[in-house]
């Protein structure tokens, strides 16, 4: 059996809240990521989905140590990288890369795109055969940009093209694992589809594993092999893509799926929608017991007194709920019927 390329065990990230003007003391913590564990296999895409403030982006950054984890271990290819000194991380950056959400702030406007894409080669002192400029031009061509444009500045490109530049930079050294943090959410739908196809092609060509962080369930469904659903810093449910969409068991997953509008008027108007009451609690003061209990339609006393652990229900399908249950999801989500509705 192949070993996972990335094994994340019980990772937490608590941001301290300090009070006091002269003498700062810690009065609490924002539990952005609160004990998450998962594995990613080589060449696989794990989707990490959740709403704003659930900690999915912090999770992605913590795993790459762009944000230092508070506790837990992150094993890349069998080695724990959480204990490494900063300078020992540098060689690992060849294999671990990131694609950012905002194609405007993630590229230095004063550098040419040639310089931007060449940076990984220079930092890592890699000398590609044929020279750096040739490598940069090959990369530009690979991501669907004109190789003659390496001397232009990010300002000359549209959002979708900039996202391609960010992808070229991330794949320059043929990494093994990329965290894609909402890579298409700033793009128009027609451009979003171009970038999703590009990410799929690159994965097929180089066998890169992705942690795909996004809030858009249909995008996550499209690109992922497995999906983890996060809520308030914790993983609520994790399963293969098809299992999750056909037989989700966590009430939050049900609500999330039923909230996504489907671009088909007959389907959209004839299904039942679970409308959650209330709002996301503050991660600095999470509810006791199950963090979802303040909004859960199935809440009981047990949910307030005891934290449900993430446990395996069927092979590869784990749920953190005291009362996991497949609901007749035909009304919630048409994927459950296994039919292709759009002719």
């Amino acid at each position: 059996m192949t070993e996972p390329i990335m094994r994340v065990t019980n990772v937490t990230k608590h941001f301290p809240i300090s009070e006091g003007i002269f003498r700062q003391r810690q009065s609490g913590a924002v539990r952005a990521v609160d004990g998450i564990s998962f594995e990613v296999m080589p060449g696989e895409t794990l989707g990490l989905v959740g709403e704003s403030g659930c900690g999915k982006s912090t999770a992605g950054r913590t795993i790459l140590r762009l944000v230092e984890p508070t506790s837990g271990t992150v094993e890349f290819a069998g080695n724990d990288i959480t204990k490494l000194a900063k300078r020992d991380l540098v060689p690992l950056r060849r294999d671990l890369q990131m694609i950012f959400q905002d194609p405007f702030s993630s590229l230095n406007p004063r550098h040419t795109i040639g310089d931007i894409i060449a940076a990984p080669f220079k930092v890592q002192k890699v000398k590609p055969t044929g020279g750096i400029q040739q490598a940069v031009q090959d990369l530009l061509e690979r991501v669907g940009l004109n190789p003659e444009h390496y001397n232009r500045y990010p300002g000359d490109f549209s959002g979708g093209q900039r996202q391609r530049i960010g992808i070229a930079r991330a794949i320059a050294l043929q990494p093994k694992f990329i965290v894609c943090d909402e890579p298409v959410s700033a793009l128009d739908v027609s451009i979003q589809a171009q970038v999703l196809n590009l990410l799929e092609d690159i994965q097929n060509d180089y066998g890169i594993a992705y942690l795909f962080v996004a809030h858009d369930l249909s995008v996550v469904h499209h690109i992922s092999d497995r999906v983890a659903v996060m809520y308030l810093g914790k993983i609520m449910e994790i399963a293969s893509r098809d299992d999750l969409f056909a037989t989700s068991m966590h009430p939050y997953t049900h609500a999330l799926m039923s909230a996504v509008p489907i671009a088909d008027p007959d389907l959209e108007r004839n299904r039942e929608r679970i409308i959650l009451k209330g709002e996301l609690p503050s991660p600095s003061n999470p509810p006791s017991g199950c963090v979802f209990n303040t909004r859960c339609p199935k809440k009981t006393d047990l949910c307030v007194s005891s934290v449900p652990e993430l446990r395996q229900i069927s092979p590869g399908h784990e749920v953190a709920c005291h009362y996991p249950e497949v609901i007749s999801s035909a009304t919630v989500h048409p994927a459950a019927t296994g039919m292709d509705f759009i002719g």
Partner: protein, 341 residues
């Protein structure tokens, strides 16, 4: 599509901006009508002119910057060219608007209560306590749990979903006949979006409001719209009932949009994106605006590049702007068969 029951009728609306680089044709000859209790969605990508067209309707584009031509008829009055004082009396009372970003649409220095009271008193000669009572009722109506706390709160103290509810309350506080909602849920999470869309539907049923919904999200369109206008490069390229648009689309850009969205209900289909990028609105191509990205332009030939197609009827209440013949369209995109009533 002359419709005597239409509340708001937009006819040949065009908006041009003069910039250093040349004239930007943001909206060209847009026409639509919306009746009481109905929702018309305007769909398009960034830069398609969907937001600018509604700002023009509301008279919110400065005269010095923008040149607005055409007619916007609301209850027999033409809003284009109406003087700003008259528009102020109309805005918020007869036609109201909600914006994508409630944080920048609400005043950061005033408490929610004060802003709602002002919205009432601008249009009605009432005492402050009566206005406050109206504000309280409206906040309850949009599903805000602790009304007294929210009345005293500043906008930044509320969550995104709560702020959007406050803005909807403010827009509907004078019981307007038309509500223009510009991407009302784009900044919100899906579970909150579901709450807000449901709220809009409930309020529409209660007050019989006509809604113009501007969005880029075809899922939201499928949920909300009776009628849809698809905009591209400043022009309406297709106009149909929601069902016809989704099941019998007649314009390659609409096809491209529908094929670009990942569908949860179909497995492992490769997406078919529209190649290229949207046009510059300064140097608008002479032919069809979509021709440079259209994979069927070669089927038609020269005409797509030289002649701007008219928005023509393809069936009753369904118009498309495309040189493809009905026969060609039927072959290229058979559509969902036999169930469009």
């Amino acid at each position: 599509m002359a419709n005597s029951s239409a509340l708001l009728s937009v006819q040949n609306l065009s908006v041009e901006f003069t910039t250093e680089d040349g004239i930007v044709h943001a909206v060209s000859n847009l026409s639509y009508e919306v009746s009481a209790g109905k929702t018309l969605a305007i769909v398009g990508e960034s830069g398609s002119g969907k937001s600018v067209s509604s700002l023009a309707i509301m008279g919110l584009l400065g005269k010095s910057k923008a040149k607005v031509t055409g007619d916007v008829l609301f209850e027999e009055r033409n809003l284009v060219g109406t003087d700003p004082e008259q528009m102020r009396l109309l805005r918020g009372r007869e036609i109201a608007m909600i914006f994508q970003d409630p944080l920048s649409a609400l005043h950061p220095f005033y408490r929610i209560g004060a802003q709602l009271v002002e919205a009432v008193q601008v249009h009605n000669q009432v005492q402050e306590n009566q206005a406050l009572e109206r504000a309280r009722t409206m906040l309850e109506r949009v599903g805000i749990p602790s009304v007294d706390r929210v009345l005293k709160a500043y906008p930044h103290e509320l969550s995104g979903g709560m702020r959007q509810r406050v803005m909807i309350a403010m827009a509907l506080i004078n019981d307007p006949k038309v509500l223009i909602a510009d991407e009302p849920t784009t900044a919100l999470d899906v579970t909150v979006q579901a709450q807000i869309l449901q709220l809009l539907k409930d309020l529409q049923a209660e007050f019989n409001t006509a809604i113009v919904l501007i969005t880029h999200d075809l899922g939201v369109v499928a949920d909300m719209a009776d009628e849809v206008v698809v905009m591209y490069g400043g022009s309406a390229v297709e106009h149909a009932s929601a069902r016809e648009l989704f099941y019998q689309p007649q314009m390659p850009y609409t096809w491209g949009l529908l094929d670009s969205i990942p569908k949860v209900q179909s497995l492992d289909d490769r997406l078919e994106p529209i190649p290229g990028t949207p046009p510059s609105l300064i140097n608008v191509p002479t032919g069809c605006v979509f021709a440079p990205r259209c994979k069927y332009a070669s089927t038609v030939g020269e005409r797509c590049l030289t002649e701007f197609p008219e928005l023509l009827d393809v069936s009753d209440g369904h118009q498309a702007r495309c040189h493809l013949s009905a026969q060609q369209r039927k072959i290229l995109r058979p559509g969902k068969s036999g169930d469009v009533s």
